[in-house]
């Protein structure tokens, strides 16, 4: 994060140098009581279901987290908000995203920490000057800390979603060679125009790569088809013809047959079969393989 954007974000949270100075002035009081503070924090945490989930079966993890928390609050109270500070908070976010910590317990934990610290400052008496302003500075920095952590968790989750939707897109068009010169594409689910465009591009690339002679497109798993999508599929069959590759549409349902006829498609141009088995037989014959001999006996 650059210097200017740190300044920008501090301005948004209304954090000034005077805030940091107040926190630093009060820091010795809080640092002295840090162990006691952490004990109180886990007393609170133990009342909640998440404690069972994350710590009950794993006492060594609890010790490690307490240790990390001590380091974290020490640097928080030093109030040196620079690149390293932001990096450390983002790291906390990455750890929380990794264990899938619910946001509610994280926010509740930050609010509790804020209250526990404010209580300790109030009890410190004359050692803390300007009590109200110090508590308000502490709260502002607490909000900034929580924001950076949650923002990192959200960013990691967005990345996960983008990666999995890309994987899903890849999986949705598996154009696979099943025999010398034969490509098969089983289509499942709902076809929209973006997906048919993707099918077209992948298919043409695969034909160029494998020099396939026959392309079998199995649409038995397609739940619904409108006329626009049917048109797109026919365009794919035309496109493959321009690469010297014949397309066979297989798995036509009665409803899809009806759509094609009502579209006024010249069925003579496109080879279609009701079952994948029939398509495969046509495909094998088109690449010059005797299907009777393959089935053994050849009566």
């Amino acid at each position: 994060m650059s210097r200017t954007s740190i300044a920008e974000i501090l301005a948004k949270f209304d954090l000034r140098e005077s805030d940091f100075q107040r926190i630093r002035a009060a820091a010795p009081v809080l640092k002295r009581q840090l162990d006691d503070f952490i004990v109180d924090f886990y007393k609170w945490m133990a009342q909640h279901r998440e404690y069972q989930v994350f710590f009950a079966s794993n006492p060594s993890r609890l010790e490690r987290v307490k240790q990390l928390q001590r380091v974290n609050w020490n640097s928080f109270l030093d109030a040196q908000v620079d690149d390293a500070w932001f990096d450390a908070r983002r790291h906390v976010g990455a750890v929380h995203a990794h264990i899938d910590l619910p946001n509610e317990i994280y926010f509740a934990g930050m609010a509790t920490s804020n209250n526990l610290m404010a209580d300790r400052l109030r009890r410190a008496g004359t050692e803390v000057k300007d009590l109200d302003a110090t508590i308000s500075s502490l709260t502002k920095l607490m909000y900034l800390d929580a924001f950076v952590v949650i923002d990192e968790i959200a960013r990691i989750n967005r990345e996960k979603i983008a990666a999995s939707s890309k994987a899903l897109m890849e999986m949705s068009t598996p154009v696979t060679p099943i025999w010398e010169g034969i490509l098969l594409l089983p289509l499942l689910g709902i076809l929209d125009s973006q997906r048919t465009q993707d099918v077209m591009n992948k298919t043409l690339a695969r034909i160029a790569e494998t020099r396939a002679k026959v392309f079998v497109m199995d649409i038995s798993g397609v739940s619904a088809m409108d006329t626009a999508v049917a048109n797109q599929l026919l365009k794919i069959t035309k496109a493959t013809q321009l690469m010297g590759c014949e397309t066979i549409l297989s798995g036509l349902s009665p409803a899809i047959a009806r759509t094609l006829v009502e579209l006024g498609v010249n069925i003579g141009e496109v080879r279609t079969t009701a079952t994948l088995r029939d398509s495969f037989e046509l495909a094998l014959r088109a690449v010059g393989i005797d299907t009777k001999r393959l089935s053994g006996g050849g009566a």
Binding site: M200, N201, A205, I207, A208, K238, L242, G244, E269
Partner: protein
């Protein structure tokens, strides 16, 4: 016996087949030259088949494709089975988006496939 083209066109005879190779963008002049080389080649050599080889053509719009298809149909009228070879996937995707008519077009990815298929068809016609 290749005819070196003045305008990016080369016509070569392979067996019964006339191969017309285009090595440039299909501007109007190039298309005219390709048409002339194909039709004159088929007529004077008595070729039974013709191939329009377009592997080196980087871009093609729907108008140019229609012109290429017209050349193929003219050659068919002169009695030569005609195939288009080497259309790039990107060009095809564009042609489909532009809704071009492709009925009756014989096309192949590479020369090998086209020569084998045309040879079989020519033999079939004469059997």
């Amino acid at each position: 016996m290749a005819t070196p083209g003045m305008s990016g066109i080369t016509a070569t005879r392979v067996g019964h087949c006339l191969v017309v190779t285009v090595t440039r963008d299909l501007s109007e002049g190039v298309l005219d030259a390709a048409r002339q080389a194909t039709l004159e080649g088929v007529q004077s050599d008595g070729a039974k088949a013709a191939i329009l080889e377009l592997t080196a053509v980087p871009f093609m719009d729907s108008h140019e494709f229609t012109q290429v298809r017209a050349i193929a149909r003219m050659a068919e009228l002169l009695g030569a089975r005609t195939a288009i070879v080497g259309l790039q996937p990107g060009i095809i995707a564009h042609l489909m988006a532009a809704n071009v008519e492709t009925a009756g077009v014989l096309a192949f990815l590479g020369l090998d496939e086209a020569l084998a298929a045309l040879d079989a068809r020519v033999r079939g016609d004469h059997a």
